[in-house]
């Protein structure tokens, strides 16, 4: 009877190698990939022109195709919020709830495994690789809290861990698994060479925006401004786009940095009032929060400061409300020394 494993596939090298190691043992493997809304690839390359030069591939799909496995992409945006809001094991250096995230994903993979008749789960985890979620003392926590127990096999570091059920039952040969540990990438790169894998994604700082300091600052600011930890899909996508400038606690501006972002922000003009320079080429900005006329004028001066009219005595902008009604404003662009650095998120 051919055993079946479901692999957590991120699109990076480690999960790719883990799948290949298990495939070599005659196990049928299918991949599962979770979309949290914070995934780095995806949204970003579609927005900014400079990112369009990068390969427009979804790495998880690409990896699955290289491995010849099916990939199931699961939307967990709504359920994932609880992980972000209240991580039992806390955040990492920024707003990254890495250990809770791994527990959650393994639990979801377990549900999938059970409903699809698979036998066990594999991941590309390596003991000691990550400061929070891949430590010798936290790997068992993932098994315990997710409920997967010893049906979770980590092929790249299995020899450093107690034998799992697939090993004890002989579904896989433990001797053909690996004993990688620590932060070095050399063993993975050597194994990749052995498998003839030359092209793979090497995301700096992981594949999640929550590990990014600047992004975490903007998310924390959003929660402060709303008075509660909450977000919708549109909120977390907008945090990835433009300059975020908060001149006052009750409103902020999202100012496009280039044409691609401007086009993207246009799609939100029905939800947020906006400003666009008309006398000079310049950005589109969304206004998140209620503003009075004085604050609107300040917002217009800030937006004008990022237009080609930044040195002009006057710049004309179109203000558009969420109903599509417009009016023109004429303002003097804000001089650089009046732009408070503390406003910049």
């Amino acid at each position: 009877m051919q055993r079946k494993a479901v692999a957590l596939v991120s699109g990076g090298l480690d999960s790719m190698l883990a799948v290949r190691v298990i495939q070599e043992q005659g196990i049928h493997v299918e991949g599962i990939n979770f979309f949290t809304g914070f995934c780095v690839e995806g949204h970003t390359h579609a927005i900014r022109k400079r990112d369009r030069k990068k390969p427009k591939r979804n790495n998880a799909l690409w990896v699955a195709e290289q491995l010849g496995i099916k990939l199931h992409i699961i939307d967990i945006v709504e359920e994932y919020k609880e992980v972000v809001f209240n991580p039992k094991y806390g955040y990492g250096a920024h707003l990254n709830p890495c250990l809770d995230c791994k527990i959650f994903m393994v639990r979801k993979a377990k549900e999938w495994m059970e409903s699809h008749g698979f036998d066990f789960i594999i991941t590309g985890e390596v003991v000691g690789q990550r400061p929070k979620s891949q430590r010798k003392d936290t790997l068992p926590v993932v098994q315990r809290d997710s409920g997967i127990g010893d049906l979770l096999l980590r092929p790249l570091c299995a020899k450093n861990l107690p034998p799992t059920l697939p090993e004890r039952e002989g579904w896989v040969d433990r001797e053909k698994l690996y004993d990688f540990s620590g932060r070095t990438r050399k063993p993975q790169m050597a194994l990749a060479r052995r498998f003839g894998i030359e092209d793979y994604a090497q995301p700096a700082g992981g594949c999640c925006f929550l590990t990014d300091e600047q992004y975490s600052v903007k998310l924390a600011d959003l929660w402060r401004a709303r008075g509660a930890k909450q977000y919708e899909m549109d909120d977390i996508m907008l945090l990835k786009v433009g300059r975020h400038i908060r001149p006052a606690p009750h409103f902020k501006l999202i100012v496009s940095r280039e044409e691609g972002e401007g086009r993207f922000l246009q799609g939100y003009r029905g939800r947020y009032p906006s400003l666009k320079t008309v006398s000079h080429a310049g950005p589109l900005a969304l206004i998140d929060g209620e503003v009075n006329d004085e604050e609107l004028a300040l917002a217009a001066r800030i937006v004008a400061r990022y237009s080609q009219g930044k040195s002009a005595s006057e710049v004309e902008l179109e203000f558009r409300d969420t109903q599509g009604d417009t009016r023109l404003l004429k303002v003097a662009p804000l001089p650089p020394h009046e732009l408070n650095p503390e406003w910049m998120l």
Binding site: N33, R52, L61, A64, I73, I74, D75, G267
Partner: protein, 77 residues
């Protein structure tokens, strides 16, 4: 065989793929599905998803400023 259309406009990668995946799961082998997208990444991602999951891409390209992928559902999803 039936033909269906799926509106994936304004969705960014990988949401168009997820929508296509979930819609295809409801269709029968041989059915055709046309996904209309605004994220150019869909032109790579949806065909890649089709290839690994056994569906046939009939068309993938730009049409009137939008990105269209038309596929035929394979024997298994």
């Amino acid at each position: 065989m039936s033909r269906y259309t799926l509106d994936c406009r304004r969705l960014l990668c990988p949401m168009p793929v997820i929508r296509v995946q979930d819609r295809v799961a409801e269709l029968q082998p041989g059915d055709e599905l046309e996904a209309i997208c605004t994220d150019p990444g869909a032109l790579n991602d949806i065909p890649a998803w089709c290839r690994i999951n056994g569906h046939r891409v009939l068309e993938a390209g730009e049409r009137d400023g939008e990105y269209v992928v038309r596929l035929r559902v394979g024997g298994e999803t």
